[in-house]
Structure formats: structure tokens, C-alpha cells
């Protein structure tokens, strides 16, 4: 007797000891929880918890008979504790004795009507007995008891699901999501309802919303207010803007590497000229005292043409990756190269004008003729460069011949010598080469100070424009061919 007294006095406070078995229950370590509750029933027989929690543990272990004993004892010992009846009803539900469960719940509700769990169980019980209406009423009570607990709201929606009222269920899940946006059931079960309604898109949306956040359900095309693409590259204005921007950016990219950056645009052609001057003017003693001027007026326009053709000849092949990624017309590629080269030639031309001025070949009244000459050369360059660029993807071997061909053309254009020094019967044939004719025009204007042969120039311009048109039409026809032959 004495020893019993001793143990009692040394027992720790009840509130502290029940934490451990509850912990085991949360971790679903039922066997450990069982043992502990049994010990606590012995040590603290006047507390309800070891009996009630012990009964829950036994139910979880499927020891229904033992649970029944514990609950019977609890009903005797703690008749005013509403949880005694709530847990008793749980066992009855487990035993599918719905009437008995309802009886216990009724008693619990009489003791304390403010336990949400009680109403949820009551609704569950009523639903099982086929009383939907009563279930709804009980559920409403549960929701009113604690509007911050999700369980009652889940039941609310599930009641509709069980009754196969899918539309109603969707509505209820939506309300549930607005209250508890973090709980997956609001999306996943709603998705099930949507699937039942044969709305797979909505169903998928809900699943995705669970993963990516509820706001994707509301982003109806509002996130990307970019104007819809229509036609894209088909308008010529867009295309020109693209060509211009790409050319400028290419130039920017090009100078990036070099220490002298833009300085090379002037230096490189200057060095070229020095080399030709040394070879033809000093070593070979050609031309006489005006030779530098003669050389420059031929070489500078020629280098524009040469670089444009060289630059664009492989441009379509170089653009193959881009062509397969975005549907841009292939004519963009040679035109970008061409524009890029042309922009680089502008300072060189300005240098030429300055040089002429210093050498007393000052601009005269006839210099307006420079405009048509440059226009014709532009057209000629576009036609020729785009033609070479168009052919090379079909016959790549040709790219090996381009430099040789251009060298031949260079010697046939009279850059280092005056066409008048060749025998007269060949001169008219020589001038059929449009580049030779254009160089003749530049020199007549700059050196001789006379108006070039405008009639021939006009014909040359018309011919070049026609060739440009033919090339543009050709590119249009080949638009869908290039991405393929490049892959092949």
C-alpha cells in the first residue's frame, strides 16, 4: 500500500506524459502507442485520455473488441465527456453499425455542439444511411463551427462528388480553393469532377494549377500582351528594318575584336592602295604623275563591288541554322552582307572626295552625275552579288571559283591601266563589261571633268534594275527550297 502511495507521489504531471504516446500516434507507430496508453491507463485511471486515445489506437490496430471494452469503460467512467461518444461512434462506423453510431453522435451533440469533428462524423453517418439532406445539414453545422478547418469543406465538396453532382462539386471545390489555396485536394479532386464532366482541358488545368499556383487559372492570355504576330516578315518595311538592323549590328560585332576598331575601315583600303601604288606606280613605272589619282578613282569603286560579292557569296549557307529556326526570306542574307560592306565603304568614298579636292580636282558642277553612277553601281552590285549568292548553295564548288573570277574581272575592268591604252578595236568590247564602263564614268567625272555617257549609263541602270527584279523573283521562288538544299 505504501509503495503504491510512493509511486503516485512520484508520477510526473499527466499533461507531460501524454505527449509521447500522442507523438507515436502521429507517427503511426501504433504498437508503441498501444503499450504506452495501457501503462497510462494503469497509472492515471481517472483521466479519460488514456482510455479514449487507447481506443483510437486499438481501432487503428484493428483490435476492435478491445477498443469496445475500453470505450464501454469510458462511457461508464466519463459519461459527460462528448469525446467518449464521438470515439464510440467511430468504432460503430468501423463495425458498420450506423444506427448505433448515430445514437452515440446524438449523445455527443447533446453534450457539446461546438466540436466540428462531431458534425463531420454525423454527416458521414447520415450519408451512409442514405440521408443526403441530413448529411448536408450536419456538414453545414461543421463548417459553421470552424470556418478555418478544411476538413468540413472537403466533406462539403465530397458530398456533391458522391452524389455525382459534378457541376455542384466543381463549384464547391472552387470555394474550397479560395479558402484553402494550399491544399492539393481542391485542385486534384476538382480535376476529377471536371474529368467526369468530360472537360479534359479544365481537368488538366486544375492539376497544373496545383503544381504551378492557382493564378495560372486566371491568366487568360493576359500575361503576354505582345501584339499577335501576323504575317511577320512578309511586309517589305519590316524586312528592310531587319536588314538594316542586322547589318549595323554585324558591323558593331565586327569591330569588337580589334584594337583600332573603326579605324580599320579607312586603314585597310589605304594599305591596299599603297600596295598597288608601289607595284604599278613605282616598280612598273606606269601612269605618270597622275597615277595615284587614276588608281584611286578606279580602285575604290571596284573594292566596293569586290567586297560586296565576296561577302555575300556564302551568306545563304552561313544563314542555314537561322533559316531552319525562323521563317525569314533567304534574300535577307545576301542583302545584309551587301549593306554591311556598303556602309563600310562610305568613309572610304568620303576620303576619296577629300583627296581629290586636295589634289585640285575640286567638285565641279557636274558632280551631280555621281548620284546616277552610284545608283547604277548599287543596282549592279545587288544583282550580281545576289545572283552569285543564289547559285552557290546549289553548286558549292563554285565558291572556289569566285575569287579567281573576281580577279579576272578586276583585270578586265581597267583599274591599273586606262582602257584607251588597249587597241581601239577591242575598246568597245572591253566597255561591255559594266564595271569597266562604270569605272570609266567615275574617271571622266573626277579626272577629265566631263559628263559621262549618260545614255549608256541609263541602259546600264535599266539592265541592272531588271536583273535585280529577276533575282528578287528568283529568291521568292526558291524561298522554300533553300532551307532544304542546305540540309541535304
Amino acid at each position: 500500500m505504501n509503495t503504491n502511495q510512493d509511486t503516485k507521489s512520484t508520477l510526473p504531471p499527466f499533461n507531460e506524459v501524454i505527449e509521447l504516446p500522442k507523438q507515436f500516434m502521429r507517427n503511426k507507430e501504433w504498437l508503441k502507442a498501444r503499450t504506452l496508453w495501457a501503462v497510462l491507463r494503469n497509472s492515471y485511471p481517472t483521466h479519460a485520455e488514456p482510455w479514449l486515445q487507447g481506443a483510437i489506437t486499438e481501432i487503428s490496430c484493428d483490435e476492435l473488441e478491445l477498443a469496445g471494452h475500453l470505450l464501454a469503460h469510458a462511457r461508464n467512467q466519463f459519461p459527460n465527456n462528448p469525446y467518449t461518444y464521438l470515439i464510440s461512434s467511430e468504432l460503430s462506423i468501423k463495425n458498420k453499425q450506423w444506427g448505433e453510431a448515430e445514437h452515440f453522435l446524438q449523445q455527443a451533440r447533446d453534450k457539446d455542439p461546438d466540436i466540428p469533428q462531431l458534425w463531420i462524423k454525423s454527416a458521414e453517418c447520415a450519408e451512409h444511411q442514405g440521408n443526403q439532406k441530413q448529411a448536408s445539414i450536419f456538414n453545414e453545422k461543421a463548417r459553421q463551427c470552424d470556418p478555418n478547418a478544411p476538413a468540413a469543406f472537403i466533406q462539403h465538396a465530397e458530398l456533391a462528388m458522391h452524389a455525382e453532382q459534378w457541376e455542384l462539386a466543381l463549384e464547391r471545390w472552387e470555394e474550397f480553393r479560395s479558402r484553402f489555396p494550399e491544399i492539393p485536394a481542391g485542385y486534384l479532386r476538382a480535376s476529377e469532377a471536371a474529368r467526369q464532366l468530360d472537360r479534359p482541358k479544365k481537368a488538366r488545368q486544375l492539376v497544373l494549377a496545383q503544381q504551378y499556383g492557382a493564378d495560372i487559372l486566371n491568366t487568360q492570355a493576359s500575361i503576354h500582351d505582345m501584339p499577335k504576330l501576323h504575317g511577320g516578315h512578309t511586309s517589305p518595311g519590316r524586312l528592310l528594318e531587319l536588314i538594316w538592323t542586322k547589318a549595323i549590328f554585324n558591323l558593331r560585332s565586327e569591330v569588337h575584336h580589334n584594337y583600332l576598331s573603326y579605324g580599320w575601315w579607312i586603314l585597310e583600303p589605304l594599305l591596299h592602295m599603297v600596295v598597288y601604288y608601289l607595284v604599278f606606280g613605282l616598280l612598273l613605272q606606269r601612269g605618270g604623275e597622275n597615277y595615284p589619282i587614276f588608281l584611286l578613282t578606279g580602285l575604290i569603286p571596284w573594292m566596293w563591288f569586290l567586297k560586296a560579292v565576296n561577302g555575300s557569296c556564302n551568306s545563304i549557307i552561313a544563314g542555314q541554322n537561322l533559316m531552319l529556326q525562323v521563317g525569314i526570306p533567304s534574300v535577307v542574307f545576301p542583302l545584309v552582307s551587301l549593306l554591311q560592306v556598303t556602309l563600310k565603304q562610305i568613309p572610304v568614298f568620303i576620303l576619296l572626295f577629300g583627296f581629290l579636292w586636295l589634289q585640285d580636282y575640286s567638285p565641279g558642277a557636274l558632280w551631280w552625275a555621281l548620284v546616277p553612277i552610284i545608283v547604277v553601281q548599287t543596282l549592279l552590285t545587288i544583282a550580281f552579288a545576289s545572283m552569285v549568292a543564289a547559285i552557290i548553295p546549289f553548286m558549292r564548288d563554285l565558291s572556289f571559283l569566285v575569287p579567281t573570277g573576281l580577279t579576272l574581272l578586276m583585270f578586265l575592268s581597267g583599274i591599273f591601266y586606262d582602257y584607251r591604252t588597249i587597241s581601239p578595236e577591242w575598246q568597245s568590247l572591253f566597255l561591255l563589261n559594266p564595271m569597266a564602263f562604270l569605272l570609266k564614268c567615275y574617271r571622266e567625272l573626277f579626272i577629265d571633268g566631263i559628263l559621262p555617257d549618260m545614255q549608256t549609263l541609263t541602259w546600264c541602270g535599266i539592265g541592272s534594275a531588271a536583273a535585280c527584279t529577276v533575282m528578287m523573283l528568283t529568291y521568292k521562288r526558291l524561298r522554300y527550297i533553300y532551307p532544304r538544299i542546305i540540309m541535304e
Partner: protein
């Protein structure tokens, strides 16, 4: 509902060009594709490597034309989601964004108006104004994807791009794609991830050996695909 793009018995044959030492030969990338794309849907394209998926996207986007059969586009603009299209390593992020946006069909002004958004999305900070050659692979991928977020054609073609950058950015990119899919955007998605197709698509089409082998609900098409894959392993 009326389709916005229809493909009927579409075939594409590539020529393997010959030379002095080798004879010309042909390769049938697509043999017979029948397919409709409906407005607002997300269509998944399944198939093994080399089954012709990329060629199919090129046909749909109008970059190439079929050798046989018909593709009818009822006036929809189509864009392939082209990551890092036209990137120039020597230019800075901003210039590359402008260029890439313009290459995908926008005007310079339209892209410039979006530059701040692109910069913010890319999370590149001041690096946005540094040359792209100084970027890490991940940063480049981030810039590439950020540019494409502004693109909204009628039909967006996506070819295995949902794996860009680090885990954080990958999730962000995936989320953006999901947002696009949830909006009324029509999306054609090529993916090797069965789970992705099942999760994102309204319909799926299985391309096998250049033929549109099965079309329908993703789960059904996926099971046909898996069956075929298993069969091929045994053989």
C-alpha cells in the same frame, strides 16, 4: 470546331546529294502525315529520334514545303520557339534580344518596348549589357528563353526546350510555358517526356517512321507508343 492547320498525306523526301565519288540517294523524312490542329489546343507530338518530328515542325511552321500531299494553313501565324536564334556572341544581351525578336517577326520598336521585361525575366541584371560571349551557358540559355517569352503567334511550336538554365530558371520557364498553354495560345509540343505530354496536352499524335501512326487522347496515344517501343526492343 474547324482546324486552323490541316495536313493531308504529307510527305517529305530529302536528297542526299551525290558527288563524283558517291551516288545520289534519297531519304524519306516523312511518308504520310495526316493531322489537324485546332485553335486553342495543346497538341503533343511523340516519336523516337529520327522519326521526323523536327521535319514535321518545319512543315507546320512553313519553313519548308511538302513534296507530296497538302498542308493548308487557314491564315494562322506560326512560330517555332527558337532559342537563341541569331545570337551574336560579340553583341551584348540587349542587342541580341532585339535581333532575336526581330528575326522572329517583330519590329524593332515592338521588341525595344519589351526590353525591360526581357531583362527582368532573364535575371541577368547588369550582365544584360555585357557581350554574350562573356556569359555562361546557363546565362545564355536564360537570355534565349527570355526573348521568346514575348512571342505570341497564333500557333507556337515548341521543340524540347523546357530544360534551360538552372533548376530555379527551369521551373520558371516551365511555368511560363504552362501559362502560355493555359491562355488561348495554340501550342504544338514536341517532347520526349511522356509525363510532360500527359500533363500538358489535350491531344497527342504519334509519329513513327514518318507516318502519323495514332492520334487522340494523350493517355491512349502514350500507351500505344509504349507498346510499340516495347515491341521494338524485343525484336
Amino acid at each position: 470546331m474547324k482546324p486552323i492547320i490541316s495536313l493531308r498525306d504529307v510527305a517529305v523526301r530529302y536528297k542526299r546529294s551525290g558527288n563524283v565519288f558517291r551516288k545520289k540517294s534519297y531519304f524519306d523524312a516523312l511518308k504520310s502525315i495526316n493531322l489537324d490542329i485546332y485553335p486553342g489546343e495543346t497538341l503533343g507530338i511523340l516519336g523516337r529520334n529520327g522519326s521526323g518530328k523536327s521535319t514535321l515542325l518545319r512543315i507546320i511552321s512553313g519553313i519548308i514545303r511538302p513534296d507530296r500531299g497538302r498542308m493548308v494553313n487557314h491564315g494562322a501565324s506560326v512560330s517555332l520557339l527558337a532559342l537563341q536564334a541569331g545570337f551574336d556572341p560579340n553583341l551584348n544581351g540587349s542587342d541580341n534580344a532585339i535581333l532575336s525578336g526581330m528575326l522572329q517577326g517583330y519590329s524593332r520598336r515592338e521588341v525595344q518596348n519589351k526590353l525591360d521585361e526581357i531583362q527582368e525575366y532573364s535575371e541577368l541584371g547588369e550582365f544584360f549589357f555585357e557581350p554574350v560571349r562573356t556569359y555562361s551557358t546557363g546565362m545564355r540559355a536564360r537570355l534565349g528563353f527570355s526573348v521568346t517569352t514575348i512571342i505570341s503567334p497564333d500557333i507556337l511550336l515548341v521543340d524540347e526546350v523546357l530544360s534551360v538554365g538552372d533548376l530555379h530558371f527551369k521551373q520558371k520557364a516551365e511555368r511560363t510555358m504552362v501559362e502560355k498553354i493555359q491562355s488561348h495560345q495554340t501550342v504544338v509540343l514536341v517532347s520526349h517526356s511522356h509525363q510532360q505530354i500527359a500533363r500538358l496536352c489535350d491531344r497527342a499524335v504519334l509519329i513513327d517512321d514518318g507516318i502519323s501512326f495514332a492520334t487522340g487522347e494523350p493517355s491512349k496515344v502514350l500507351s500505344i507508343y509504349e507498346e510499340r517501343l516495347a515491341k521494338n526492343k524485343i525484336n
